[in-house]
Assembly symmetry: C2
Homo-oligomer: 419 residues x 2
């Protein structure tokens, strides 16, 4: 209870400072925000030695897998990449310079819907130091203050990076409190963030499904996130066979650990015998394993059988679930039952079927004749993304600068009163 109270007080202090900083930031010019990003990039380079030695402490104390250690480890090239990332964000269009709608009423009132910052964002993530720098840049550019709570494994790195970024902000004349890291990595601080209605306007969790699901379950603050990316690629009977092979291989195997990777292949019964063996052979050559329904196993003997639960599993690995379906409606029904409203694709040369699939699906991103791995802010042309959202409100799919803004109305009159 004492720890809870202390964490709440720590969050309150951070959030009050962030709120005041956010008000200054919201009124700042695009030039000021871009200047700050340039100064932050310069400060990262200036502090490279400090950052690397803080990171060494984190890496030295780390006892997880080699893959996770690699994600945690910084070197001069990675610090430079972070700095370059800040400059890239500075070069993106100003998301606050957008008038989203502008109309005049019969009584002469002019109504403008304009983009505006969300306010104070809480970011909860695991142990990749660059996530903190990227999120700081995107929040600053979009006029939002951010409170970062990274994983304990990268606490020293996160603090050193934040110190550099704050010095850059300070040098540029914007309040350093725009970008803060949590004072500790206690779980109580996360609990305080999740309970932080009125203090935080939005929480963005990035990490494993269990972290994100906990945030979604417990937060009293709006959340933008995706817990699972259970993506499907549906090969329709009118698919171009070689296109289908190329798309399925890419959608599954380009990177198996990202949320836009295809986890389940749906293929029409009428072409399964002709095309599935080649697709399986391509994937197997790349080290992929399979969980196939009975009909798929009739066509390609020797595949492991799929349980119903396998179709609900986000493998994030070189494993593909396979189900044979009878046409687009069955494919859509399978996706509705097992999917996560993230990203799904159809491969077909038939426009009517594609239209039916695009109209009938309901996920954040639906593709026709392209790989599900395109669900990405960079690939969408957003320049950068802070995450992917699979909720229904505010933003869906890649969350870039525009999605980090909200709107408000400016109404201009000449003395109108309401009758």
């Amino acid at each position: 209870m004492h720890i809870e109270t202390e964490a709440t007080q720590q969050l309150q202090r951070a959030a009050v400072a962030a709120r005041a900083a956010a008000r200054v930031l919201a009124r700042s010019s695009e030039a000021a925000r871009n200047g700050a990003l340039a100064a932050m990039a310069a400060a990262l380079r200036d502090h490279q030695t400090d950052i690397l030695s803080a990171n060494e402490a984190d890496v030295g104390a780390f006892n997880g897998t080699n893959a996770l250690r690699d994600r945690l480890t910084l070197n001069p090239a990675r610090v430079e990449a972070m700095a370059k990332g800040l400059e890239d964000v500075a070069a993106l269009p100003d998301p606050l310079a957008r008038t989203l709608a502008d109309w005049t009423r019969p009584n002469g009132l002019r109504i403008q819907r304009v983009a505006s910052p969300i306010g104070v964002i809480g970011m909860i993530y695991e142990s990749r130091p660059n996530v903190g720098a990227d999120a700081s840049a995107l929040c600053l550019k979009s006029g939002n203050a951010v409170i970062l709570r990274g994983g304990s494994d990268s606490a020293n790195s996160a603090k050193a990076i934040n110190l550099a970024l704050q010095q850059g902000l300070d040098a540029s004349g914007l309040p350093p409190a725009c970008i803060q890291v949590s004072p500790n990595t206690d779980r109580a601080f996360v609990a305080a963030m999740l309970a932080g209605a009125g203090l935080l306007d939005l929480i963005i969790p990035r990490g494993g499904t269990s972290l994100v699901e906990r945030v979604q379950r417990e937060a009293r603050v709006p959340v933008l996130a995706h817990a699972e990316g259970l993506c499907h690629t549906y090969v329709h009977e009118a698919a171009d066979p070689s296109m289908a092979r190329a798309i399925v291989v890419n959608a599954k195997m380009r990177r198996t650990g990202i949320c836009g990777a295809t986890e389940t292949l749906l293929i029409d019964r009428s072409i399964a015998a002709a095309q599935l063996p080649a697709i399986v052979a391509d994937l197997r050559a790349l080290g992929c394993d399979f969980r196939a329904d009975a009909q798929a196993r009739m066509v390609v003997p020797g595949l492991k059988p799929a349980s119903e639960a396998d179709f609900d599993t986000e493998w994030l690995d070189a494993i593909l679930s396979i189900a044979v379906v009878d046409g687009v409606d069955q494919a859509l029904a399978h996706i509705a039952r097992h999917g996560s409203e993230h990203t799904d694709a159809i491969v077909t040369e038939d426009r009517d079927t594609a239209d039916r699939f695009l109209r009938g699906s309901d996920g954040a991103v639906t593709l026709w004749n392209a790989s599900t791995q395109f669900c990405d802010g960079g690939e969408f042309g957003f320049g950068a993304e802070i995450g992917i959202a699979t909720g229904r409100l505010h933003a869906r799919g890649p969350v870039g600068l525009e999605q980090l803004t909200t709107y408000r109305y400016l109404v201009t009159g000449t003395g109108q009163v309401r009758p």
Copy 2:
């Protein structure tokens, strides 16, 4: 515990039926949805006798104030107004027919951001029977299923209206489960709705502050709402005096009980002596009372003193808080401290000051030289509104048909795979 479980099961049954209905509705044509609205209007007229006799039972059992009884009471003209309201919604532009963005990437991928329904909406409101009909129409037009939980005082009316609307839906070929009322008015059903993550996609509460605040505090589902409308009108020293008088009188007194009514007048010190007496006299002639700070009382002796808490009070009555300020920055600071991010106005002839106010405010709606009572979906040209939102995400200000939609991405390729 038994009641909780039963309510949860009731909500689950309703929500599963609503989800299935919403899928059909999401794929329906504009003509089908408009035809359904016409059939629903006709059914309301056909069922007028049943609706009025159900309403008589509600009114007969009612023992609240006369004002509330009047809001509860239906008559032939009010039933006709509900039916006409459905037809008016049918005549509005289709919010699902909007492509919000459309671009092509260098690799040839075409990305379209298209409007789509939110899904299943839970509406929690008090005892005005027409709210259920209005909400049903707006949700249906925007492709959403809705589960209505009205106040117990209007339970018979709500059921009779819903029965008519469902028969209209059925006759038009759309699933009646698109529009459901709660099977009872137990508080446990509200609790089940608030806990309904995965069952409901959005909750819209309409009613008193305590109802809305409870929903905002307890809901595990996204909420669009406003709890308070603590609106300000700021009369700047460069205001046209007669415009200022007209706007303040309208903003406060046109209707005192609506959320866009001004609750606090801020006036510049330099013009207070010259203009405040006339403004007070105008308002007093209409029966308005005052809570004024010390400086205002020096200018207009005899006003009741304002406590700090008065400036945090949404009067919803013929009472106006008055504070004297020194310029636009003090006005903005007062609004930031006491406001509710709903609607605030400035009256001035000075464009630079107006710009500073519009840029510096952060509420959902900010007006220049117009009455705060214009914060209304109809006045904005939305045709109808389901409420006003003062949260930061998804929608702010009047919530009309567009705000009852979300978006998703359709991506069209020619076989692209991600490098």
